[in-house]
């Protein structure tokens, strides 16, 4: 089982419960704005603490309130691609890519830097600072940075939003290739049903009231 999540969260006075299991290579998390999709990704990455429950990804227990397990983010090996890219503004693209790579030197790397640079077509950006990148370029660098940190799974928060059609298509193809060529469980948050239909093997719908329905 890739994802086994059963959590109750309280975010800004809004409480919600989410329970799903998925063994699809790419699982999509969908639902209206404010329902807690990003909070769920944050909880899986270890940036937000659920009130109670259990999070198991690819066999690793990341959080279990009953057993008092709560791994810090740096021990979870999440490759988190934030919606706002969140590149380090004082570091060049190359230094951003190297950030997680250096910290994860222990494990055999999933993909080499050269491959990432080629796959994401960011060779020409390596010496630039994040402030000079377009939205799509920053997104690609953020994906590369996450991939190079030797993640055990990927969290993608609306990776295609606010990109023009051709850019979105390029990234969509890229995510398909990552899904098919690299053996990494992925959890994708998306608003676009076309995107979800094309990418996801399993769709988890979050609703404002009651437990999530099945597709």
């Amino acid at each position: 089982m890739f994802f086994d999540v059963d959590i109750t969260m309280l975010v800004d006075d809004h409480a919600f419960t989410l329970q799903f299991v998925s063994d699809a290579r790419l699982t999509a998390l969908v639902g209206p704005s404010g329902v807690g999709k990003t909070s769920t990704l944050n909880a899986i990455a270890g940036l937000l603490r659920p009130r109670s429950g259990r999070i198991v990804v690819a066999g690793d227990v990341l959080f279990d309130s009953a057993a008092d397990v709560d791994l810090p983010p740096e021990k979870r090996s999440a490759g988190y691609v934030f919606q706002d890219a969140r590149l380090f503004p004082h570091k060049t693209v190359a230094a951003n890519l190297a950030y997680g790579e250096r910290l994860s030197a222990h494990s055999g790397s999933l993909i080499s830097r050269d491959e990432v640079v080629r796959l994401l077509e960011i060779e020409h950006l390596l010496h630039r600072l994040p402030a000079t990148l377009s939205g799509g370029e920053a997104r690609r660098v953020a994906i590369g940075r996450a991939l190079l940190s030797s993640p055990r799974f990927l969290l993608l928060d609306e990776p295609l939003s606010s990109l023009d059609e051709s850019r979105a298509e390029t990234l969509l193809v890229l995510i398909e290739r990552l899904r098919d060529e690299i053996d990494l469980p992925m959890l994708l948050v998306s608003h676009s049903s076309a995107e979800v239909e094309r990418l996801a093997g399993r769709v988890v719908t979050m609703t404002a009231h009651g437990p999530p329905g099945k597709p």
Partner: protein, 230 residues
């Protein structure tokens, strides 16, 4: 250009101010970080205590330092008996007075720049494998560098101008604790030394302007041309 007496005064002032800033810098940054990033009971009190030297009459700060660090003071007697260190009536005492007076300004500048660092970047660093300390050293610290430079500059300027706490705590001893402001004050007490006072005042202006320009240059070099100290 400068007379030997003036050199003594300038060298002493610079030594006192530089030592005061260097010693206060890590303390101020630590306090700024705690106040900016941590939520704990007593945080407001800590913030108020840090700002105390800014709002108290400097003479009162000097008097409090005497009570605390004087030869018979609570900490002072311990320092003397354990390490043989005396702070009153010598240049290290002047540096302590200057550092304490500079602290609130340094903390304010650093706190603002730490608060301006997006905490979500720290979260991103953590997901990439960084420990809290590593994330601090590679993200928060470099991004708050302009605040450190600004704080150091403000602290240096404040130390250079320190008068009330210094004369109360460290006294006005020529060659030992008589910094620029104290020398100017001493000159004003003596009839016929208007020329000497004017020269010292000019030196003070040049030093302060120099400090401002150096820190602007430092910030520009580290952050590009968009950042400013003031």
């Amino acid at each position: 250009m400068l007379t030997p007496t003036e050199w003594t005064i300038v060298a002493l002032s610079l030594r006192v101010s530089i030592v005061a800033v260097l010693v206060t810098l890590p303390i101020a940054y630590g306090l700024a970080w705690v106040i900016a990033r941590r939520r704990f009971p007593g945080r407001m009190l800590l913030d108020a205590l840090v700002h105390l030297p800014l709002v108290l009459p400097p003479v009162v700060t000097g008097w409090l330092l005497l009570i605390l660090l004087g030869r018979n003071g609570v900490l002072g007697s311990w320092l003397y008996e354990t390490f043989g260190i005396t702070l009153v009536f010598n240049w290290t005492g002047a540096a302590v007075a200057a550092g304490v007076m500079a602290l609130p300004l340094m903390v304010r500048a650093m706190r603002l720049s730490i608060e301006a660092v997006d905490r979500r970047l720290v979260g991103a660093a953590r997901t990439l494998g960084a420990s809290p300390l590593h994330a601090f050293l590679t993200v928060t610290l470099p991004l708050s560098l302009p605040g450190i430079a600004a704080g150091a500059m403000l602290g240096f300027a404040r130390s250079l101008g320190e008068f009330g706490a210094t004369i109360t705590f460290a006294a006005n001893i020529a060659g030992e604790t008589r910094t620029l402001p104290l020398a100017i004050y001493t000159g004003l007490q003596l009839p016929g030394s208007e020329g000497a006072v004017a020269r010292l005042a000019l030196i003070a202006i040049v030093l302060s302007l120099g400090a401002l320009m150096v820190s602007e240059w430092l910030v520009r070099r580290s952050q590009g041309t968009r950042a400013h100290v003031l």
